[in-house]
Amino acid sequence: MAKELPGYGTINVPKDRAVPFGAVTPAPVCTQDLFQTSNWRIVRPVKDDEKCTRCLICYMSCPDACWIYQEEQDLMEWVAGFCKGCQICINECPTGALTAVAELDFPDGVIRLDKPF
């Protein structure tokens, strides 16, 4: 048994490919910023503050929590970064305060996500 036996080699996971131990990740706080979904949108809801009664139905209808009631200003705030444009809020608004406008009509909101989700 003079010959030396082979070893098991070494394993080096490249830093940029490392995954968390046991695939456990910290929970997000307010939004999952690694997963913006504004690029799902074909239309965006545009609100009319005059017609809006702050009934909060849009807030309670959004699967993506994209309507927030700002108590101090007494205004509804739309979350542009995550709205997928499903139009549930527009469909549910009892006063017709929301309208669907084509996303391409707006110059803003251009993002270049690295990973297309």
């Binding site: 799902w40 074909i42 084509a102 996303e103 391409l104 297309p116």
Partner: protein, 202 residues
């Protein structure tokens, strides 16, 4: 290794997924009718698709047998096809493209309007638009052909037909006559072929 042309089709989940799938399947079939070697497949990571999420479909095309078939992505697409135009706002659709590429968009908006949303348009030699929704207005939804199944509702009955017509004209890689044998909506395909607007960039 044989030269492989990569075509990436961007569409949206569920509502336009079948149309995107039709585009790649029709294109590959038409190429195969000319004896070319072609591979058409969904991006596996994009499955299962969700309503309105951006999803990718790929064609790989070669004059010779494609040697390496097992890839997940088209890394360097020469041609990018956009089935739903809003996608240009949210994704770097030209990612991996080498200079001199081609972009084809299904829209009734002007080419210059669309280019405003594409900061890296200098990669492009050709941009084309076709108003496929205006031509047919049909978007088939059928899950039977997803996940490697076979579409029971046929192929090329909606916006995919004019888009493929436009692709034949712009790329020159497939023949209109072959398309006519494949698609359900032949007149839509022919209108796409003749009505596509093409702009050559400096």
């Amino acid at each position: 290794m044989a030269k492989v042309h990569e075509i990436t089709v961007w569409t949206r989940g569920v509502t336009m997924d079948k149309e995107g799938r039709d585009v790649i399947n029709i294109f590959a079939k038409a190429a195969q009718m000319d004896g070319k070697h072609a591979q058409a497949f969904d991006n596996y990571e994009d499955l299962p698709d969700r309503v309105l999420v951006t999803v990718r479909k790929y064609v790989r095309l070669s004059d010779e047998e494609i040697e390496h078939k097992y890839i997940y992505h088209n890394e360097n697409p020469e041609v990018v096809v956009i089935v739903e135009p809003t996608i240009v706002k949210g994704i770097d659709i030209l990612r991996g493209m080498k200079k001199g590429g081609t972009l084809i968009i299904n829209t009734n908006r002007s080419i210059d309007d669309m280019l405003k949303f594409i900061p890296n348009a200098d990669l492009l030699a050709t941009v084309a638009t076709v108003d496929a929704d205006g031509i047919t207005g049909v978007r088939t939804v059928d899950f039977s052909g997803s996940e490697g199944g076979v579409d029971t509702s046929g192929i090329g009955k909606g916006v995919a037909a004019p888009i493929c017509g436009a692709m034949a004209r712009v790329t020159g890689w497939i023949k209109k006559e072959n398309l006519a044998e494949i698609v359900g909506d032949v007149s839509g395909m022919e209108r796409g072929y003749s009505e596509v607007k093409i702009k050559k960039l400096g």
